[in-house]
């Protein structure tokens, strides 16, 4: 891999990491909102929405950190 390709890859992974953090935090907040619901169906809807956001955000963080680690090792 060329140095500029590695830099572009790191930039891209850093962006994805930032997006992942945002989505993850938002998912936690939605999950927390479960305690304010009245009915079972509302409870479940909040839970599914929150867990989905956490899964997407967490997945993005995990993948982008792996890529950054790998690319930095390549660079060195």
């Amino acid at each position: 891999m060329k140095p500029n390709e590695i830099d572009a890859g790191i930039k891209s992974a850093q962006i994805n990491n930032a997006l992942g953090v945002f989505i993850f935090i938002f998912g936690v907040i939605v999950l927390f909102a479960m305690i304010f619901t009245d009915t079972f169906i509302q409870h479940m809807t909040d839970m599914v929405a929150g867990l989905l956001l956490i899964a997407i955000g967490g997945g993005m963080i995990w993948r982008s950190r792996n890529i950054i680690k790998k690319l930095k090792a390549n660079k060195e």
């Binding site: 989505i23 938002f26 619901t37 509302q42 809807t45 929405a49 989905l52």
Partner: protein
């Protein structure tokens, strides 16, 4: 009104978006970074961004309102009115724009025809985007007013402040990457609303049965194809000729805010793939935006303003937490549409007006600064013009009306420019000017020509047809371009199979 947790979610979302957008400031070092994201973005992010900036606030509020008033036929805008056009854009038009290293659609028109065509097209888009901004701000105010009880001017100004800041600093990278988050939030919030609304009305079959027995005005609510003499703005002739043939193509191929996203792709493959991926995602949109409007007919019958259908559904159906999420999703759509317009208009002004006419040959940092200042000026214009949109009965129709003035003529000259080598600069110029004039004329005297309430689909079709004929006629009478002048600007079958990496 929102509960405490929903307020918290909305405020957290707004602050988070602001911080996330500002984070991208570090990636903006040149005008190419600001306007084209350094040509480094992946197809999936661009595809999501295209969809979310297209559906935005207008579809959430406007299409739900139209579905409430006229039924499922409004879904045509996202199916036949988007998918075929996006595929055509991906395989034929985007490769030429991308290979040419272009920043704007008018830049292509300038190379293919002449500078006058470029300037007229660019000024037209700038004017449209400025008015569009006002409509978007007004849409935000309507929803904020219903849900949070904020005064209209406060909500307009707070939206302008948040979006303006991150677009000003982060450029198109901030625009596209915040769109990715907005897309995810919108889809999750939207599907939650559809699921709970269906639960509330007792399932799809129950809803169909209830609406069908509500009276003769609901007889065609579930007909995707409306008869030609319908009172709704979506007769099948208008959908086929005006929407599918003209407006959809003009929007996906000739709209700066859509095409500019594809030009940020890291290579040509990603540029094409972004449009194709976007078209696949687009097929889900009617489920998100149309169904809540339909279900509001059962849950909230007799609303005087259809545009209130969605806010009322959010308020009455969703649980605490999801009201905030859904409102954040709406706000996300709105912010996405606004940031796209801001960045695209700044690009059009800087590249098509400022650079050729006001200051040629300045250094790159200067053009970067001009783009940023233009963003700020546009914010002020958008806020100031927002009350205009309150004079129109439906927010979505207002936008389509503005667009029908020039979508047809611009698409006619783009189409002939790519596919017909014989078309000349004078052909393009006359078609553009006469076509736009004709569309305005038809719109002003629409009662004399059309029987339906909002004939914007017909106006775009007839103005397209007239521009097409004028372009061909004038081109045949004037001097044609040489083969050298047309290099890389007209269709060749090689474009379908070869990818180029810059």
């Amino acid at each position: 009104m929102l509960a405490g947790i929903d307020y918290f979610i909305v405020i957290a979302y707004i602050i988070g978006m602001l911080l996330l957008g500002l984070y991208f400031k570090k990636y903006v070092n040149s005008s190419e970074d600001y306007f084209l994201g350094g040509k480094s973005l992946p197809f999936w992010a661009i595809g999501m961004s295209i969809v979310v900036s297209d559906i935005g606030a207008l579809d959430f509020v406007g299409v739900s309102g139209q579905a409430y008033r006229y039924g499922v036929s409004v879904g045509n805008f996202d199916w036949v009115g988007s998918v075929p056009a996006m595929l055509l854009a991906a395989f034929i038009f985007i490769p030429y724009f991308w290979r040419g290293g272009m920043y704007t659609i008018p830049e292509y028109l300038g190379r293919r025809y002449n500078q006058k065509v470029r300037t007229i097209a660019s000024v037209t888009w700038i004017l449209f985007f400025a008015l569009d901004l006002g409509v978007l701000f007004w849409a935000s105010a309507v929803l904020l007013n219903v849900l949070m009880g904020w005064p209209i001017w406060i909500s307009i100004i707070s939206t302008a402040g948040v979006v303006g800041l991150y677009t000003y600093f982060g450029g198109i990278t901030a625009v596209i990457m915040t769109d990715v988050v907005q897309f995810i939030i919108m889809f999750i919030g939207g599907f939650a609303l559809v699921f709970l609304s269906l639960y509330e009305v007792g399932g799809w079959d129950n809803m169909v049965e209830k609406i069908s027995t509500m009276g003769p005005e609901y007889r065609n609510h579930f007909d995707i194809i409306q008869p030609q003499d319908t009172k709704s703005p979506f007769p099948w002739t208008g959908i086929l000729f005006g929407l599918t043939f003209v407006m959809a193509n003009a929007y996906m191929i000739g709209n700066q805010s859509i095409v500019q996203r594809c030009l940020t792709a890291k290579n040509e493959w990603h540029a094409k793939a972004s449009m194709i991926f976007g078209s696949a995602l687009k097929m889900f949109i009617p489920i998100l935006v149309l169904f809540p409007g339909l279900m509001a007919v059962v849950v909230h019958p007799g609303l005087l303003d259809g545009d209130q259908a969605l806010p009322m559904m959010i308020k009455s159906i969703l649980p605490p937490g999801l009201v905030g999420l859904m409102f954040a999703a709406f706000f996300a759509g709105l912010m996405s549409s606004v940031d796209s317009l801001l960045n695209s208009t700044a690009t059009l002004f800087t590249k098509d007006i400022y650079e050729p006419f006001i200051k040629k040959g300045a250094d790159d940092k200067h053009y970067l600064k001009v783009g940023q200042i233009t963003t700020l000026v546009l914010l002020v214009v958008g806020v100031a013009t927002s009350p205009i949109s309150s004079d129109f009965p439906g927010i979505y129709v207002a936008i389509q009306t503005f667009m029908s003035y020039f979508q047809g003529p611009i698409f006619a000259i783009l189409l002939l420019g790519i596919f017909w080598r014989r078309t000349t600069e004078w052909g393009g110029l006359s078609a553009l000017v006469i076509g736009i004039g004709f569309a305005i004329y038809l719109n002003v005297f629409k009662e004399q020509f059309f029987t339906i309430e909002d004939p914007f689909l017909y106006i775009s079709w007839w103005s397209f047809l007239l521009s097409f004929i004028i372009n061909m006629t004038v081109s045949l009478l004037t001097k044609k371009h040489s083969d050298e002048q047309l290099q890389g600007l007209v269709f060749s079958s090689k474009i379908l199979v070869k990818n180029k990496t810059v």
